[in-house]
């Protein structure tokens, strides 16, 4: 095991170096700048970004070699997400490459693999995730979207909510109920829905950062070919859990916190505060929490690779990472003073108007708003604590 770990470490170290050099030499300046200033990226930007990653073999680096991936170890996956985030790169949109791709190669039929996997790797198809429903956020057993089999189709009716970037999506992977009254976990199936199907309506949910990240997706008598069922009927819960396991590494949280803290420190240098000792102490405490997050993250990856994990690691990292990131953002807002409460949309669109404060202030404010959701989406902090209480502590 130690040998395997050593090998993984060597590879991860090389990957980190490769990413740095990619960031320096390959990444286009406009994308770098937009993302550095936390400006708004549009669909084209994201698609371009995902394809750039794919050109390096990284978009699906964590897929097994037989499906075109590089068979990355957990440590490499983690390092990939961590280093991109440390460098302040755009979000690696996970819905295709990280979420549905692995479900398809693990449980899909050959025809589905041939049809979907290559277009996922290249982001020719943009995917979205249809999980949450009104009244069933963390509580998937309460799902109400129904898929009734009619001949060679399912007829789907229901409503999904908080669907990230549904407004851009070509495809939706979706949990639906294919049986009534049965034990909740055995009645759920995993289907792939073409967003161009009649009956699919996307309604944006504007958030307080002034943008649309999430949507309601209404499904009214949407006819989904039976061939778009993944795996077996009633096994959707199993696949969803498998998919969740792919969330475990979450290296991006550490990298994001690290990047945000570096920005905060630079800000403290640029903008002398009214009480420099208090600012230094505050930053120092954040720095210390980052040290703890870093240690815990690497410890988690190592435990998972050794198979000695207790199962609470992902919750630990999510809880600490999101809280730290939010607190760094708050400190930045405070340090910015008036620029931290000015709403400066022009600065968020690579527009021509000069910014009201430091050139990334608008982006910091925008991110501060949207990142309040970091402790809500993807398993709220309360749910994470429930998971650990029951699953690890046996309470």
């Amino acid at each position: 095991m130690t040998d395997q770990l050593d090998e993984a470490r060597d590879k991860a170290r090389r990957l980190r170096a490769d990413i740095r050099s990619f960031h320096e030499r390959v990444m286009p300046d406009d994308l770098k700048r937009k993302s550095h200033l936390h400006q708004v990226l549009d669909k084209d930007d994201y698609v371009r970004w995902m394809r750039l990653l794919n050109d390096q073999g990284w978009a699906i680096g964590h897929w097994p070699k037989e499906h075109g991936g590089q068979g990355w170890s957990l440590l490499e996956r983690f390092t990939f997400e961590d280093e991109l985030a440390r460098l302040g790169c755009p979000w690696v949109i996970p819905f295709g490459v990280k979420y549905v791709g692995p479900v398809i190669y693990a449980f899909g039929r050959e025809e589905q693999k041939r049809r979907f996997l290559p277009r996922i790797a290249t982001t020719e198809d943009f995917w979205a995730q249809g999980y949450s429903e009104p009244g069933a956020g963390s509580d998937l057993a309460a799902l109400r979207t129904e898929a009734i089999r009619e001949g060679d189709h399912y007829v789907v009716n229901g409503q999904k909510v908080w669907t990230t970037y549904a407004q851009w999506a070509d495809w939706l992977f979706c949990l639906v109920k294919t049986a009534r009254g049965e034990q909740a976990q055995k009645s759920i199936s995993f289907v792939l829905i073409d967003m161009k199907s009649p009956g699919v309506t996307v309604k944006p949910i504007p958030t307080m950062d002034g943008y649309v990240h999430v949507n309601e997706v209404w499904l009214e008598n949407v006819r989904v070919p039976a061939e778009n069922l993944v795996g077996a009927e009633g096994e959707g819960w199993t696949y969803a859990k498998y998919l969740l396991k792919n969330e475990r590494t979450a290296g991006a949280l550490l990298g994001m916190a690290c990047h945000a803290l570096e920005r905060l420190k630079a800000l403290a240098q640029e903008k002398p505060s009214a009480s420099p000792e208090r600012t230094a102490a505050r930053i120092g405490e954040l720095e210390l929490r980052l040290l703890a997050l870093e240690a815990a993250s690497y410890q988690a990856v190592e435990s998972m690779m050794r198979g000695t994990d207790h199962g609470g690691e992902a919750s630990l990292i999510k809880l600490r990472g999101t809280e730290l990131y939010q607190d760094i953002a708050e400190a930045a807002i405070d340090l910015l003073g008036f620029a931290g409460v000015a709403w400066d949309p022009a600065a968020l669109h690579a527009a021509s108007a000069p910014p009201l404060g430091p050139e990334d202030a608008g982006g910091i404010v925008k991110d501060h708003f949207y990142n309040r959701a970091a402790t809500i989406f993807g398993g709220a902090s309360e749910i994470q604590r429930n998971i650990v209480a029951k699953g690890v502590l046996g309470l």
Partner: protein, 372 residues
Amino acid sequence: MNMDLETAGMLRDSASRYAADNYDFLQRHAVLADPAGYSGKAWRDYAELGWLALRLPEKHGGLDADPLAVGALMEVVGSRLLMEPVLASALVSTGLVRSQGSAAQQDALLPQLADGSVKLAFADAEAAGDPRCQVRAGRISGRKIAVLQGDIADRLIVSAADADHGGERRLFLVDAKSAEIERRHYRFVDGRGAANLHFAGVPAERLDPDDGTPAATAIADVLDHATVASCAEALGIVRALVATTCEYLKIRKQFGRAIGTNQALQHRAVDMFLLQEEIAALTRSAQEALLRPAAERARIISGAKAYISSAARKVANEAVQMHGGLGITEELDVSHYFRRLMVNAALFGSRDEHFARFLAATTHSSPEGIPA
């Protein structure tokens, strides 16, 4: 020494009723969408209701209201997120005119402030590194930033060094529409307007108090009042957030029962409520402190503001969190309260600044000002 509970109570009731009828969340959405960023109709209503004359001396038909009454109104302003320049014009600027205007200037301006026909904004903050604003030969030059509702003001009160009179810091009246002002209008994150203003030799009328009160003294006094008013506004917001969160905890179901049956959420709701009660008590202490001489009030006012800035933020964060995804949406009031509190905390001195002022005023002896 005692403040007038009854007047404050009546004002609170009537303001609450007015706002409930005329300024609910949907009606406010229309105001927010209006390019002006405030409602002219509401502003005229406020004048009629007497809100704009609250701080006026009685001889000008005002109420000469005490801090408790001002706070009662500001609580409503906060709880309904009113967008009109009550704080900027009717409290801060009116206070400055009242203490720095000559009798003639007061006679001219105060009635217009009371009837709402003139809106003032106070241009005070300057960017670090900029040369200080200066008046020479009756014309003002320099740059002011983050002027609260400077975008909709008719006239501006500008603080500047008066080079015509030995460089003393004084207040000047300026026409906001003047051609010699280069202006950048924008909004704060809560939707209220703001302005950065570059004065390039703008004609300025000096405020000349008959009693010779130095401008610095008047500004400090008005900012103390404004700070306490902002505490009351925060209190109104926090009360609204606590109430709406408790309501949501009772309504929202998960795993088959109201999420408010979860003890962890109950305890956190209690912690929000405790913060609310502390904010209320500190606001009250700060209001009482305003009745004391300036030197004795710094500790309590700045202490209250520092504590309230942090406490209100905690409440807002928890309110967002407990509302789940809804908490960050534009369509729910929670996120609007969240943003207003951000601006509230940045105005009239940051948390760090007030904390430093509190510390400096805290001697090593026992705390002064034991009420009993």
